[in-house]
């Protein structure tokens, strides 16, 4: 946790983190590595174990197995050193409806024994200003809209200068304007050197603001890395339908294309009607050149498509389609 070592260190690190509720394994052997200074997108469909993982990171729930360290210190044993340096929005905002927005923030700030009471008023004011709630500071939270509560929740995470921000679905309930503001807020926090851990099921959001991401599915961590790495694994590929699969593979090899590795690819599927093969697109080989080379080699091309991979494809490939909540 020294200044020099920060760049290389991990802001959050979990090893074999698991949580069991009764018979159900909500989180199953998660090894998460969140580099310091990154904006880390934590993706996954509803019910995939994202919030449970976050609860364990913050010491709200105990792990059934495995370990978590946050800012280089074991959680939950050293929460009193870790948590004052962490701002969090967990599973939506929660406030006392009978208190004003400002009184709510003062209350939660008073709970932190490290927070100085002499600067409390000023810090609450600054946090409210950062999320654009100054005009509603004196209003009872009962009268707040969902978006305003969400903003107040983010303000609570910003009460003290933080090294790590854990934001669980920060744009939930916000209008497009508010979503944009949150995005720019996250960027400015990251620019100031804080690590931002954002959980979301909105891929577009993650693609726009994150440098790194991890994908959860049914309690397991199915992918993590930089955004570029994740996109790479799902980048554009050629899908070729032909009965001459062996011949086609030879042509692909000559063009310097290897069968794509990883999930959902790199396999040749043969059927009675013919084979289907696909490989990654090389930027220096135009798709029409591939077709020409195939035809010249005598490959009967029955179908040819260039499929552009995206984070969304990758996400769906990893977590499955449809509305099925992973059990």
């Amino acid at each position: 946790m020294t200044a020099a070592g920060r760049g290389a260190e991990l802001a959050i690190e979990t090893h074999g983190l698991s949580k069991r509720f009764g018979h159900q394994l909500a989180v199953d052997g998660v090894n998460l590595s969140v580099p310091s200074g990154s904006v880390f997108g934590f993706l996954g469909p509803n019910g995939s174990g994202k919030t449970t993982t976050i609860r364990m990171m913050l010491g709200l729930a105990g792990a059934t197995a495995g370990s978590v360290s946050v800012l280089g210190l074991e959680m939950p044993d050293r929460f009193h050193e870790v948590l004052p340096r962490v701002g969090a929005l967990v599973e939506g905002p929660a406030f006392y409806p009978f208190l004003s927005g400002e009184a709510n923030l003062r209350r939660l700030d008073a709970a932190d024994p490290h927070a100085s009471s002499s600067t409390r008023r000023a810090r609450v004011g600054t946090a409210l200003e950062r999320v654009g709630l100054t005009h509603a500071a004196g209003k009872k939270v009962r009268a707040y809209s969902l978006g305003m509560k969400q903003r107040l929740g983010i303000a609570n995470a910003l009460l003290s200068p933080r090294e790590l921000l854990v934001l669980d679905e920060p744009t939930n309930g916000l209008d497009p304007q508010g979503t944009r503001e949150v995005r720019s807020l996250v960027r400015s926090l990251a620019a100031d050197g804080a690590t931002v851990f954002v959980s979301s099921h909105l891929l577009a959001e993650v693609e726009q603001i994150c440098t790194h991401a991890a994908v959860m599915s049914a309690g397991r961590l199915v992918a993590q890395g930089t955004l570029a790495e994740l996109r790479d694994a799902g980048k554009a590929r050629i899908r070729l339908v032909t009965p001459d699969a062996g011949l086609a593979e030879g042509v692909f090899a000559r063009l310097g294309m290897t069968p794509a590795g990883g999930l959902n690819n790199g396999t040749l599927v043969y059927s009675a009607s013919g084979g289907e093969t696909n490989g990654p697109v090389r930027d220096d080989v135009a798709p029409e050149a591939v077709v020409a080379a195939m035809v010249a080699a005598g490959v009967r091309v029955r179908g040819f498509a260039v499929e552009q991979g995206s984070l969304e494809d990758r996400f769906v490939a990893l977590t499955g389609e449809g509305f099925d909540i992973a059990q």
Partner: protein, 313 residues
């Protein structure tokens, strides 16, 4: 750890997070193993208690309960004043003495409030301690702040204890107030037959209220333990009130004589000793000891439950 203070000052400015980094870095260089006390400024530990009391007494519900308690002596005094005479020996004890001395309204009202009204209000406050925060979802934010689970539990109990002080005091003072407004006030004849001045009588009245405060501390501990078991505050409140009723009912059954000294309600009506000259402190002492036992046992249970609890609300 002065650097942390610098960081705190910086928080007021816009460029705060940059300073955090520096502060965290340099402070780590100076004291690699930061202890829990590091960076804590004197007096800050009390902020949460002050905040807890302010939240408790800013709630309309708390004021409604205190007003309801204050209404008991007022209604009683007005009813007695309106009627021509109270036949001696009927109604609550001391009721027939009210017309001669207004200060008796306070004692009579306390006596009336002991079995149900006071446990009811204390049950609401104590049952709400943890479950109320869990129900609102603010519990997770308090713990992430980080309030610390033990600290939060202690502060919550202290808040309930303050209500135990305020509740009986409101009844006693409202009683003395309305009594002196509607009836004559003069020297008070104690149960031992001695006569004391009105000023000293007021002290005795406050003493009785203090006795009831002590009586309710055990119930508060039971309520707080029940409150750690659920995320539904109404459930914990109801269970606490039921506990006080059950304890009183068991105390009425002669077949359970052996159990009676162990019931937290056992000494609830024992404050008559404070109305003798000289004051007999025996029941006060026994009551305090019994309540301390309940605080220890249910405090430990609440601790055991809350410290390991998964906060999923």
């Amino acid at each position: 750890m002065p650097n942390r203070d610098v960081a705190k000052e910086g928080a007021a400015g816009k460029a705060a997070p940059v300073e955090v980094r520096e502060a965290a870095g340099s402070s780590a260089a100076e004291s690699p193993a930061t202890g829990p006390i590091d960076g804590m400024q004197p007096g800050n530990g009390w902020s949460l208690l002050a905040s807890e009391l302010s939240v408790l007494f800013r709630r309309r519900r708390t004021w409604a309960m205190l007003l309801a308690l204050a209404a008991v002596p007022v209604l009683m005094a007005v009813a007695v004043r309106a009627s021509s005479s109270v036949p001696p020996g009927r109604g609550p004890a001391f009721l027939d003495r009210i017309t001669q001395n207004g200060l008796f309204v306070g004692v009579t009202a306390l006596l009336v409030c002991v079995p149900l009204f006071l446990p009811l209000t204390v049950g609401v406050v104590a049952g709400d301690t943890i479950a109320g925060e869990a129900g609102l979802g603010t519990l997770r934010y308090l713990l992430v702040a980080p309030a610390g689970r033990v600290r939060l539990l202690l502060v919550k109990y202290a808040g309930a204890a303050v209500f135990c002080i305020v509740g009986p005091l409101v009844v006693a003072l409202a009683g003395a107030g309305i009594g002196s407004a509607l009836f004559p006030v003069g020297p008070v004849t104690l149960l031992s037959g001695d006569v004391i001045a009105p000023g000293e009588a007021l002290v005795r009245l406050v003493l009785v209220a203090a006795y009831l405060t002590v009586s309710l501390l055990g119930l508060s501990a039971v309520g707080m333990f029940l409150s750690t078991l659920t995320d539904v505050p109404v459930g914990a409140m109801a269970a606490t009130i039921v506990a006080s009723v059950v304890s009183q009912v068991l105390g009425e059954l002669p077949q359970l004589e052996w159990l009676h000294p162990w019931l937290f309600t056992h000494y609830w009506f024992g404050f008559a000793d404070l109305l003798r000259q000289p004051v007999a402190w025996d029941s006060f002492g026994s009551n305090a000891l019994l309540q301390a036992g309940y605080i220890a046992v249910f405090g430990a249970l609440a601790y055991g439950r809350f410290v390991t609890k998964d906060i999923l609300s």
